[in-house]
Amino acid sequence: MVMSWIWSLFLLVSILSAAFTGRGAQLSQAVLQGAQSGVTLAVSMAGSVCLWTGVGALMEESGITDALSRILRPILGRLFPSSRADPALARDLSANVCANFLGLGNAATPMGISAARRLKRGDTATDELCRLIVLNTASIQLIPANVAAVRSALGCARPFAILPAVWVSSICSAGLGLAAAWLLGRLCRR
């Protein structure tokens, strides 16, 4: 439903704005141009998207995700204290964070949801559940494959040159997001 609103809003705003600025000709040209560029973009992304889903599958099957989630477990124990007494929760949490880190979004969601079910109390989100959501929405990712694919599709010579900047900003947003959650949690209790 949200998308229907976005779609209609985008069209309404562009028609109004074109009428206002007298760009009717460009507007009608943009319709077919945009549709075609969607196909062009998807096709030129195809190579790297397929390659990275293949590598993602291999990372799961070859035990790399398991090894990484074992490394993560002690760190996550501090962020999610109740996982120390609950091995199933610890496994779900580390698998979720690790799948996100490797860019395996589809694999991350079911494990995150199973962790969320264990972290909730009735129909209320606990502090730890809020932390899990913030971690999941901050997108800490080793290789943002889709963005790199768009960059290379548009003819960029070094599509992966953005990696250090992406890492720094995801870590900052996750860290400060967690700090905000901690602060809001304390304010809520008062």
Partner: protein
Amino acid sequence: MTDYLVPLLLLIPALAALRRKENAYDILLTGAGSGLKLLVSILPPLILLLTAVTMLRQSGAMELLGKLLSPVLTLFGIPPETALLVLIRPVSGSAALAVGAQLMAAYGVDSLVGVTAAVMLGSTETTFYTISVYFGAAGIRKTRYTLPAALFADFIGFLTASWTVKCFFPNLS
């Protein structure tokens, strides 16, 4: 360094699989095949949304929005051209990808705006969608402070994306 990271990331899982005596190539093939399915699923939204976003761009609405929000955005060091991306990112992933691709195409992949858009896309998530999936599946109604905290994290992501690009790519304009 990043030039070797990606090729090594291809090699390491292959060696790890071989050590476990697993058929690395077959796993890669099946995975790549499922990538094709993923591509088919993002193609229709990409076509629709790039149509809408190209219309927004050509009608001058994107510039207008940038100008409108530019006092707030420049205050935080965020390029005003990315206004629509900042607004749409937490709501819809495919719309954000369309807006980001549009920005990269219009300003150049290696321009300040293009690189900033790419870093923003890479370092933030579709917050509203993620929250609704998790809380919907776990049956949570009282979300308490989750949304403000997650949106704050997004905002920090946009902020640091703009700053890190200026730091790491000082020659862009």
